[in-house]
């Protein structure tokens, strides 16, 4: 099933790569944000099915933005994509609720997680 996705990452190149990853399976990228503040704003405007959220960003990082988005909509599906080592940040992510955490560099993992998130609904 194709999802409407909001891509959040401070690197325009990474956003381009994630968009390229999401298009062949038929998902629609409804918006792109480059920091937490834009992410929150675009989430409220676009109400996407899924958000791919980078963790390290300027102005407002992914965890803070996710907290705010979840306050606004507790059913938000946020998948954290990061360079960072999973084990260390998994605890933080779990604290926010059972959301996904994938490595930015493992394309298959990301797509699988998107399918899975829908299944959880």
């Amino acid at each position: 099933m194709s999802k409407r996705v909001l891509v959040v990452d401070d690197s325009s190149m990474m956003r381009k790569m994630i968009v390229k990853l999401l298009q062949p399976p038929g998902h629609i990228v409804v918006g792109q944000a480059k920091n937490g503040i834009e992410a929150i704003q675009l989430y409220k405007e676009l109400k996407p099915d899924i958000v791919t959220m980078d963790i390290t960003m300027r102005d407002m990082d992914g965890l803070a933005a996710a907290k705010e988005i979840l306050r606004h909509d507790k059913d938000a599906h946020i998948i954290f994509l990061s360079n960072l080592d999973e084990e260390i940040y998994r605890a933080e992510v779990e604290k926010l609720g059972a959301l996904g955490f994938a490595s930015k560099h493992k394309a298959k993992e990301i797509l699988e997680m998107i399918e899975e998130e829908e299944g959880k609904k």
Binding site: D10, S11, S12, M13, K16, M17, N83, K104, H105
Partner: protein
């Protein structure tokens, strides 16, 4: 009056330049008229003209020269490999946008390098596992899997390189070619 200042803050450099230019022309014409008709206000107009010009000079120094110097310093940092420094200009005008673009460049460069690190790390782990398996007196199971993963890592690395376009270089799947006819007989 304060709202006037606030809107003045968000004007583009081009608009501000035009304003200074306009004020200068206006005051010059008025002062010229004042001289021609020997009006008493001439001296005041001339003083206003000088005040506008002096303000323009300070403005130019503070809003154009200083930020350009700091933007230059930031790009030098980046050239030297210090991808951790940010350009600290928080304005909405042309120079602010320039600073923001430079930050974006730095972020992208960092992203590419971290990507390479990550994939190298994964390949390294797979290689070590494979070496261990080869050293053990056990069947070669799992090695094919590891090698396949390494091949995938290699593909991913190339994919990120291919997402850029290059000066004078064309990347094909297996080779790196020169775009122009450099070196060939013309």
């Amino acid at each position: 009056m304060s709202t006037l200042f606030r809107t003045a803050e968000s004007l583009s450099l081009r608009t501000r330049a035009f304003i200074f230019y306009g004020l200068t022309i206006l005051l010059t014409l008025l002062a010229a008229a004042g001289v021609l008709y020997e009006h008493g206000l001439t001296l005041l107009l001339l003083m206003l003209l000088i005040a506008v010009q002096t303000t323009a000079l300070f403005f130019f120094h503070h809003y154009v020269i200083k930020p350009l110097v700091s933007v230059h310093a930031a790009t030098r940092q980046m050239t030297d490999g210090h991808l951790d420094s940010l350009v600290r200009i928080v304005r909405q005008d042309e120079i602010g946008r320039l600073g923001e673009s430079i930050n974006d460049l730095t972020v992208n460069m960092q992203e590419v390098l971290l990507f390479v690190w990550n994939h190298s790390q994964q390949s390294r782990e797979l290689l070590e596992q494979t070496l261990e398996r080869l050293a053990a007196p056990e069947p070669l199971s799992g090695i094919q899997d590891n090698l396949e993963k390494m091949r995938q890592n290699n593909e991913d690395l190339k994919a990120i390189v291919l997402s850029f376009s290059y000066f004078e270089i064309r990347l094909e799947h297996e080779r790196m070619l020169a775009e122009s006819d450099c070196g060939k007989n013309k």
